[in-house]
Structure formats: structure tokens, C-alpha cells
């Protein structure tokens, strides 16, 4: 089994999952605060993290959920959450996220990233992106939902690993469990 149709079917499946969120009426700000609270309770970030998730809107239309300027980390010119030492990364790794949702709570697009330094001194980063539409040359080279994995967040040449549907909250869980196996969800 291979070929264009399968790649296109994966895109359709992700779009269907993304649109199905409209029936769940998820408040993405609250959902992300819950995930971050679990990290804070296990001492992987400051407890104040709960107050660092902002949600902004224009006339109640699309909603942008991201990390506010109260946060303790910076990536470029953007605010980030500092992560304490994990099994795989040294202290002060940086977690970022940005989510744009529609008024019905379905997700238009998101990016969740984690970057830091491994125990051996090598840089490490991963960024999961759900694009709003298919772009690039096609769904094989540029899957709608993908993860950049590499050493440099500014790199343009790292492969984009295709992902099955995951929400931005699950993206945070996945990235954190990747660097700290003790954070495997158990609830």
C-alpha cells in the first residue's frame, strides 16, 4: 500500500478529527492549563505557569491561546516556559505553544515546541505543527500534522515526521513524555 491516495486520506482523517472538536466545545486555554498544572505539580515547571496561558480574540471570532509575557522563558522574541531537568534534557529547556481555534472550538492551527540541551551537550528540539491548510509540494513531504525534530529550531531542512491526529494538549504530553518517561500519562 503506497501512493498519493493514502497520503491524501491521512490529510482527510486529520481534517475530520480537527473538525470533530467543534462538538466537544473544548476551552483550549483551560485544557492547556490542566496539562501544565500536572507538570508543575511534578516540579517540572513553576506553579505560576497556570497564570501564564493567555487567550486573545478579535470580536469573539478566532481565538489565539499562547504563553503570556508573564512567563519565565524566551525563545527568540516569544515567551516560553522553562522546564526543569528531565531524564533526557538539562534544566531550562523551553516549552512553547500557540493555538488558533475557531469560535466553535475546532482547531485551525497549532504549534507546540520543546527545545533544550541533552545530557551529552548536544542541542535538541522538536516542534509539532498542525497547518491550517495543505502547503508545500504535497502531503508526503509536508504532512498537514507533522513534527520537526533536530538540533536547531531555525533549521529549514529537518524532516517533517507525519503524525496521526493529536490535540495540542496531547502534543505537550507527548513532547514531555519523550524527554521524561515518568510523565507517561496515567490518569
Amino acid at each position: 500500500m503506497s501512493g498519493k491516495a493514502n497520503w491524501e486520506n491521512r490529510v482527510k482523517s486529520i481534517i475530520a478529527s480537527r473538525n470533530a472538536l467543534s462538538t466537544d466545545k473544548v476551552d483550549w486555554k483551560n485544557a492547556l492549563i490542566k496539562a501544565l498544572t500536572r507538570l508543575a505539580e511534578k516540579k517540572f515547571c513553576a506553579l505560576e505557569v497556570q497564570g501564564w496561558v493567555s487567550s486573545k480574540t478579535i470580536d469573539g471570532k478566532k481565538r489565539l491561546v499562547t504563553i503570556s509575557n508573564s512567563a519565565d522563558g524566551l525563545v527568540g522574541g516569544h515567551y516560553a516556559i522553562k522546564i526543569a531537568t528531565t531524564s533526557n534534557l538539562n534544566a531550562d529547556a523551553l516549552l512553547t505553544f500557540i493555538v488558533t481555534s475557531n469560535p466553535d472550538s475546532s482547531i485551525l492551527s497549532y504549534a507546540v515546541g520543546l527545545q533544550g540541551v541533552q545530557k551529552n551537550g548536544d542541542a535538541w528540539y522538536a516542534r509539532i505543527c498542525l497547518d491550517p491548510v495543505q502547503r508545500g509540494h504535497g502531503p508526503c513531504s509536508h504532512p498537514l500534522l507533522h513534527c520537526h525534530i533536530g538540533k536547531n529550531a531555525s533549521s529549514q531542512n529537518d524532516p517533517r515526521t507525519p503524525l496521526p491526529w493529536i490535540t495540542p494538549v496531547e502534543a505537550v504530553e507527548w513532547l514531555m513524555a519523550t524527554v521524561e518517561p515518568g510523565l507517561e500519562p496515567s490518569w
Binding site: I98, G113, H137, A153
Partner: protein, 179 residues
């Protein structure tokens, strides 16, 4: 520092401010805000949801959310018994509907309004609204002079590098794009 409702709520719930007013839009928004306050409260504090102000005077050390069935009456009552709330060591949070009679009454009760504003009056709708003009000007700086629509056209065509910085710009463009 840019204000937003989450940080305002977090600071409020971790303070000893005796009283705050929260403005909600509709019942769905009210429920989202109750859920948010429940998430943000300090672990060591209990949170009580009450339908009258008496509960806030009985449970001085707990966070008390007051969802009054008659909001204007609650405002009048608060105006008359304000001093009694000064004993509280955790916030009581009175929910009032935007544009309702109770908010108008609060604004007309000058002394009470001034006290609440001096303590806490949190309107998430106002705090979490993006100023489109300011955001548009900020976007032009980040995008090298391209409008959100022009930038998105380039992005969709695949001619914008797939970097972390551009992932942030993408979301700003999506917010500002006029459909």
C-alpha cells in the same frame, strides 16, 4: 506588561483581596470562567459556589464564587454591607452579566464601584480582546511590510521558510486575516 484575564485571575486567587467582580457574557462563558477559577485556585484553599453573599460572610477563608439569581439585589446588598467583607482572607468573586442591570447599578453606586475597581473588577472580554490596529501595525513589522493576507498567500504557496519564527507569525496572520 500586557494584561490578560488568566494572569489577573491567578493573582486575585492567590491574594487576600476580600472581594472581586467578574463580568461574564453568557451562561457558557460563566461556566468556562468557573472552570478556570477552579483550575487556578491555590491547592490549600477550598472553593465554594454560592447563590448569595451570605456564604461569603460565613466562609471567610475560602474562595467563594457568588452566582446570584438576582444580580442587582446582590449589588445592592454588597453596597450596604461592604465593611463586613473586609474580614475575609480569600477573595469572594461576584459574577455579573455584561450589559445587565447589575453592572449598571454597580457603575452608578460610585463609592462601591470605586472600591471594587480599587480591589478587582475583571472583565475577561475586555482584557482578552486584541486591538486590531495595534496588532496590525505589529504584524507589518514582523512580516517585512506584508499584510496578513499577503503573507498568508506566500505561506500557502510554500515560499515562506518553515521555521519556528514563521510558525508564530502564521498564527498572528490567521488571527488578523479578514475572511
Amino acid at each position: 506588561m500586557e494584561r490578560n484575564s488568566t494572569s489577573e485571575f491567578w493573582v486575585l486567587l492567590h491574594s487576600k483581596d476580600p472581594m472581586a467582580v467578574v463580568v461574564y457574557q453568557d451562561l457558557s462563558h460563566q461556566q468556562d470562567l468557573i472552570d478556570l477559577l477552579s483550575l487556578l485556585k491555590p491547592k490549600e484553599r477550598s472553593l465554594i459556589i454560592a447563590d448569595n453573599l451570605d456564604s461569603a460572610l460565613k466562609n471567610l477563608d475560602d474562595i467563594v464564587i457568588v452566582i446570584a439569581s438576582a444580580e442587582p439585589t446582590a449589588v445592592q446588598e454588597l453596597d450596604g454591607r461592604r465593611e463586613a467583607f473586609m474580614e475575609r482572607t480569600a477573595p469572594a468573586v461576584l459574577f455579573l452579566q455584561a450589559g445587565g442591570e447589575a453592572i449598571k447599578l454597580l457603575q452608578q453606586s460610585y463609592s462601591l464601584f470605586s472600591w471594587i475597581r480599587g480591589n478587582r473588577l475583571i472583565d475577561p472580554n475586555e482584557l482578552d480582546s486584541i486591538n486590531e490596529t495595534e496588532a496590525g501595525a505589529d504584524f507589518l513589522q514582523k512580516s517585512g511590510g506584508l499584510s496578513p493576507k499577503e503573507w498568508l498567500e506566500k505561506w500557502r504557496a510554500g515560499s515562506v521558510p518553515d521555521t519556528q519564527e514563521n510558525a508564530f507569525i502564521l498564527h498572528c496572520a490567521l488571527m488578523l486575516e479578514n475572511e
